[in-house]
Amino acid sequence: MAKREEFENAAPETVVGATVKIEGDLVSEGDIKVDGLVAGKIKTSKNLYVGPMAKIEADVEAANAILAGIVQGEIKIKDSLVIQETGKVDGNISCGRLAIAEGAHFSGTCTMPEKESLKHPLPEEEE
């Protein structure tokens, strides 16, 4: 699972600072870290980190995401989504794996693809 330290140490390719306001479609092929405001859409084929002071009013698509700020919009995460204790999510989520920390806020629905192992249960052993 993606860890917050990994984002902070790995120097993401796109960083939106705390005083920056973005309006429109923020699309990147690399990691994105948001500490400011984004209204519109965020899309990356890699990792997204939303900082505790960030406010996102946008639909979000990423491979993995850690949300520690406010996010309002549809969230589609291919693999792992972590909502941290300071995170506040209003919107529907679709993700492979989900972790919500105690104290986090989540309002919406969550859909997760069924795991292969659950789709095809093991055959019963012959006596």
């Binding site: 120097a11 390719e13 796109t14 960083v15 939106v16 600072g17 705390a18 005083t19 920056v20 306001k21 973005i22 309006e23 429109g24 479609d25 923020l26 699309v27 990147s28 690399g30 500490d35 400011g36 519109g40």
Partner: protein, 287 residues
């Protein structure tokens, strides 16, 4: 054939140039890369000398001078749509382009690298009708690499006088970014020595946008050494974005600097140019 354009430039470089001129010509002859040599004067401009080099069917132009000299030759070559290789011998030890290209300010080393003829095709940035290899600084607040002085106090005094300004950019016609910033740069390539992030790869077809948020006096004091390093990304909270096309929407009349010289004012568009340039580079290049 090699065509040498000497641009002694400012006083400091001129003195150095006078001192090394003879030794440099001997080294070029020893390495079998001697050629025609010309010196830029008020009458014999960069553009005229580039035209002369092309007329003489030179295969390589070597610029001996400052980063500004190289920039002017590159512009003249691109405007002539010439297919020619460019080399660079930096006269200034602090040459950022020299460090980026892996060209030592030590002339013996520089001549060896030129003789090695390792050529790379590099992207250029374009602002208005002007091409640039390094970066465009938006606004008058210059955070070039400076000697921080004792405890970084000299640099801090300068930075304290800088005024923040409200910047509005549009990237790729896809989104707008607005922020009050103390400094902003659009980078095609830069000297990454001492920088936290490796930005400005002139082979990736992208420009990097670096914004330094407005800082309080106490933050300027705290980050004075990071600011004096010239790497705005060393200050926590800086913004980094990437694009092929950046529109500088405001503030209107914001000056855009290249190598310390104003080339245009906002509103303006900065793009990755279609044209590329062939440059001789060293093994210690930063890309």
């Amino acid at each position: 054939m090699y065509f040498y354009i000497f641009d002694p430039g400012r006083d400091k470089e001129l003195k150095y140039f006078e001192r090394i001129q003879g030794r440099l010509l001997n080294l070029l002859a020893e390495s079998h890369i001697e050629g025609e040599t010309y010196r830029i004067t008020a009458i014999r401009t960069t553009e005229l000398l580039v035209e002369q080099a092309l007329g003489a069917e030179a295969k390589t132009i070597i610029v001996v001078g400052s980063d500004g000299s190289l920039n002017r030759v590159i512009n003249a070559v691109i405007r002539k749509k010439a297919d020619i290789i460019i080399g660079f011998i930096p006269l200034n030890e602090g040459s950022a382009l020299g460090r980026i290209l892996g060209m030592a300010a030590n002339i013996e080393e520089a001549v060896k690298i030129l003789a090695g003829r390792l050529v790379r095709e590099l992207n250029m940035g374009k602002v208005g009708e002007h091409y640039f290899l390094s970066q465009v600084d938006l606004g008058e607040n210059s955070f070039a690499k400076t000697d921080p002085g004792v405890w970084g106090l000299n640099a801090m005094r300068t930075f304290m006088n800088f005024q923040a300004f409200p910047l509005k950019l549009s990237l790729e016609d896809s989104f707008t970014a607005t922020s009050e910033v103390l400094a902003a740069q659009v980078i095609n390539c830069r000297n990454n020595d001492g920088c936290r992030l490796k930005l400005g790869d002139p082979t990736d077809q992208l420009l990097d946008v670096l914004l330094l948020n407005k800082l309080t006096s106490s933050q300027i004091f705290r980050y004075r050494k990071e600011l004096a390093s010239g790497c705005l990304d060393n200050v926590p909270g800086s913004t980094v974005m990437h694009a092929k096309k950046i529109d500088i929407l405001g503030p209107k009349k914001l000056p855009l600097f290249i190598e310390g010289q104003v080339y245009t004012k906002a509103p303006a568009t900065i793009t990755v140019a279609k044209e590329k340039i062939k440059l001789i580079v060293g093994k210690s290049r930063q890309f």
